[in-house]
């Protein structure tokens, strides 16, 4: 007799004890304890697609819009970021209040962020890069999609910047 395997996402114990990922860098981290087959990730491709369309249609990936923002010549960028934050705050508050679960029934977890000096030094450096390129990381990907192929070089340079940070990390003040 064969025992039929139950196709269910297996809940595994957290084995990632990498405090580098968990403590200083609590942002953009996968809080799910579940493991899924790769194709479950396709839904994030769809979410990205939705986000990419928004970035282009809001023109927030435009160097011109970024210059207007830093010269206080337009409200547009402030409006976009401000209303996105307000929507986010309300959403997170609702999720906490009604203990909303993920589509897999997992409890939604949000990690607090710890302060370190990197947020100041790194923040200033990123701000400079944002003003020069007119793009933050999301728009870098979007700009390539709009046909500005030279931005591939800017993206590669950003990857190099991340790598150099990783390399120099323990020598930098945090």
């Amino acid at each position: 007799m064969e025992t039929r395997e139950i196709k269910q996402p297996a809940i595994i114990k957290e084995t990632n004890t990498d405090f580098e990922v968990r403590s200083l860098d609590t942002i953009c981290i996968n809080e799910s304890q579940m493991q899924h087959a790769w194709y479950h990730s396709l839904k994030y491709l769809v979410a990205g697609l939705f986000f990419g369309i928004l970035l282009v249609k809001a023109e927030v990936i435009s160097w011109f819009r970024i210059q207007e923002m830093f010269r206080l010549q337009s409200f547009h960028m402030y409006g976009v970021i401000g209303s996105a934050v307000v929507t986010g705050i309300i959403s997170v508050w609702l999720i906490k209040k009604f203990k909303v679960k993920t589509i897999y029934g997992e409890r939604i977890e949000l990690h607090p962020k710890q302060f370190n000096k990197g947020q100041v030094y790194g923040g200033l450096l990123f701000g400079a890069g944002w003003a020069l390129t007119g793009a933050c990381p999301g728009p870098l990907y979007a700009l390539i999609g709009t046909g500005a192929t030279v931005i591939i070089i800017t993206l590669l340079s950003a990857i190099a910047g991340t790598w150099v940070y990783g390399r120099l990390r323990n020598k930098l003040p945090h």
């Binding site: 986000f51 996105a84 705050i89 990123f126 931005i151 790598w163």
Partner: protein, 189 residues
């Protein structure tokens, strides 16, 4: 058909902003994922060039969702440009148009200033600083700060994290100083 015409215009902030904000609950509900883009750069390092650096030694496959997400951003931009755009030039504040004219930047046909961002100008000092050095600062700065506009300014502030507010303020200060005091000198090169 009027709706379609409207879609093809640039979207006002009060439409695009709240929809961008909805990415936060969307990713949380899809699978407990905290919205953020700059981490993808780290995952790419971890996957391709870890070089035994502790910062890149972790199970990046667990974070592969983030790579799917950024691939989606690229596809979304293709969709928006190909099918959802009117092709009209970017409308910019006349004051900025005047300023940029001094530096021979007159082309508003594309979302990026083609006068500045193109393959041949990579070999000029101006182009190199804007595209290569600028990109480097984006990658280095976001990781040093532990996040970017999405991870800190949108996700972090949504969760009312004060370190994210500090980071966001520093993004703005760095940008204001660079755009107003440093960029003019670079554009003159």
């Amino acid at each position: 058909m009027q709706f379609w015409e409207w879609i093809k215009q640039p979207w006002p902030w009060y439409v695009a902003g709240p929809l961008i904000g909805l990415t936060v609950p969307l990713l949380l509900i899809m699978g407990n994922k905290a919205f953020g883009v700059s981490s993808s750069l780290r995952h790419i390092c971890a996957a391709c060039i870890p070089a035994n650096i502790p910062f890149f030694k972790y199970n990046w496959r667990k974070e592969a969702w983030n790579l799917f997400f950024v691939a989606g951003i690229l596809l979304g931009a293709i969709v928006a440009t190909q099918w959802l755009s009117s092709g009209a030039p970017v409308v910019v504040n006349p004051k900025l148009v005047n300023t940029l004219q001094q530096y021979n930047i007159n082309d508003y046909s594309s979302i990026v200033p083609v006068d500045l961002f193109n393959w041949p100008s990579l070999l000029t000092l101006r182009g190199f600083i804007l595209m290569v050095a600028g990109g480097f600062l984006v990658g280095f700065g976001t990781r040093y700060a532990g996040g970017c506009t999405s991870g800190h300014a949108i996700m972090g502030l949504s969760n009312l994290q004060w370190p994210s507010l500090v980071a966001t303020c520093c993004f703005m200060i760095g940008g204001f100083i660079t755009a107003n005091l440093i960029l003019p000198a670079i554009l003159n090169l």
